[in-house]
């Protein structure tokens, strides 16, 4: 038997499904929501529902979007000869913030992880391959610099290089602003490997 009135127990249960929300946080959020005015609660619920109903995946790059194709794919000023491949929709925004990239994106929705049973067939790889027409000159692999991201990048390089398309990978560097002596040997080793002429 739950200590909470039924509707509240249900709310807590639903909130616990959210990432990073444990029972304690869910309980706190529930008390807060019950204390909100009916109008505020209505706005929150409508916002969630509307976002869910109106946001979809772009049929070309699989970024989250309201319009299909998304603003990136339909923007004529963007460079169509280069496609930047990322794991998650939020990675697109991280790269956009640098203002250094002006090409198109492709979101894989995950990374290869043999130990979790996530293989190439679980990612948007077939869709990426079908975008590689004659106008595409370069594919920039911007998957995470961890073991899953590296494996995904290596797998994609194997598929794409034989097509005569340039395949590039984000450089492994030292964290900007760090002290060399505090950087671990693996990061330092990678940074040495990727050294460049000044």
């Amino acid at each position: 038997m739950s200590r909470y009135p039924k509707p509240m127990a249900r709310l807590i249960e639903e909130l616990t499904r959210l990432p990073g929300v444990g029972p304690k946080t869910a309980q706190r959020l529930s008390y807060f929501m019950i204390g909100m005015s009916e109008e505020e609660v209505h706005n929150l619920a409508t916002a969630i529902l509307e976002a869910k109903q109106r946001i979809k995946f772009c049929s070309q790059c699989f970024q989250l979007t309201e319009e299909d194709p998304c603003p990136f794919c339909s923007d004529d000023r963007r460079d169509r000869t280069i496609i930047c491949v990322v794991e998650e929709p939020r990675d697109v925004l991280a790269i956009e913030r640098t203002k250094e990239f002006h090409g198109l994106y492709h979101v894989l929705h995950g990374a290869i992880s043999p130990l979790e049973g996530i293989g190439p067939e679980d990612l948007r790889i077939t869709e990426l391959m079908s975008r590689l027409g004659p106008e595409v000159k370069e594919v920039l692999l911007a998957t995470d610099p961890n073991v899953e991201g590296e494996a995904t990048a290596m797998y994609l390089a194997r598929l794409i290089k034989p097509l005569g398309i340039r395949v590039t990978r984000m450089a492994h560097g030292m964290p900007v602003g760090s002290d060399l002596e505090y950087v671990d040997e693996v990061t330092l080793g990678k940074a040495l490997e990727g050294r460049r002429e000044l």
Partner: protein, 245 residues
């Protein structure tokens, strides 16, 4: 009380925004599961030492369900295993096999030496042999060694026209109908198996079996291992899609 262990990271899962849950296979304490707080933050000291396949030394604070892993230093980063797709797939498979077969907090020191040896051999591009050695010796070390000299049915010595069952090893012609998953075993592969089990683990690299013998042993051990698992391994599909041998 905290204690220090030396081990290899065989599994990593993300926890929350910045933490990891790592499974470390140690020489002295067997398989341990621990939380590494902050291990996904860029400047965190635990970031590199808690990557999969890393051989390191770790400070463990015991906990109820999960321990806490705090300080860490790298003994051998095994970076080459993460830098090559095929090696990564092989090493993932070995880690999954180990994770599925060994219990938590149960020391199996022979297997720790086996894993480090096999990783070293694999790093030299010899995973097709290293993986077979790992399978055979892991079964042996955990008490599932295939019988290689006598029929598992009647106990008679068998030396020719060999048959092998996934249920336990060699079986003679007359007993073979009592067992499932019976396969012929060539004498060359039989000799290879005996050496993989009986030789000192450091000498395995001396062996240079034919691709045929390795392929036969692989098929045999696949069935032998599957027979002892209640659900299939996740990492095998990927290994099969990418490897060239």
């Amino acid at each position: 009380m905290s204690y220090r262990v030396e081990g290899i990271v065989i599994r990593v899962r993300n926890l929350g925004e910045a933490d990891r849950i790592v499974t470390v296979f140690t020489a002295t304490h067997g398989k341990l599961r621990a939380t590494a707080r902050g291990a996904r933050r860029i400047r965190n000291r635990l970031l590199s030492p808690t990557q999969i396949f890393t051989h390191g030394r770790y400070l463990i604070f015991p906990g109820k369900e999960l321990h806490n892993l705090s300080q860490a230093e790298i003994v051998q980063s095994n970076q080459q295993l993460r830098d090559d797709l095929e090696m990564m797939a092989y090493a993932s498979y070995l880690c999954e096999l180990l994770d599925r077969f060994v219990d938590e907090e149960l020391p199996v020191p022979d297997v720790f030496l086996l894993l480090t040896t096999v990783f070293a051999l694999g790093s030299q591009g010899r995973f097709p042999l290293a993986a077979r050695a790992f399978e055979v010796r892991l079964m042996h070390a955990l008490g599932y060694s295939p019988q290689l000299y006598h029929c598992i049915g009647c106990g008679e010595a068998v030396t020719d026209n060999l048959l092998f069952t996934a249920e336990g090893g060699l079986v003679c012609r007359s007993c073979s109908s009592d067992y499932t998953n019976v396969m012929p075993l060539s004498n060359g592969t039989w000799e290879l198996m005996k050496r993989l089990i009986e030789w000192d683990v450091n000498r395995i690299g001396i062996l240079h079996p034919t691709p045929g013998a390795l392929a036969e042993l692989k098929a045999l051990m696949r069935k032998y291992i599957d027979f002892r698992l209640d659900y299939p391994l996740k990492s095998l599909d990927f290994l099969e899609t990418i490897k060239s041998d």
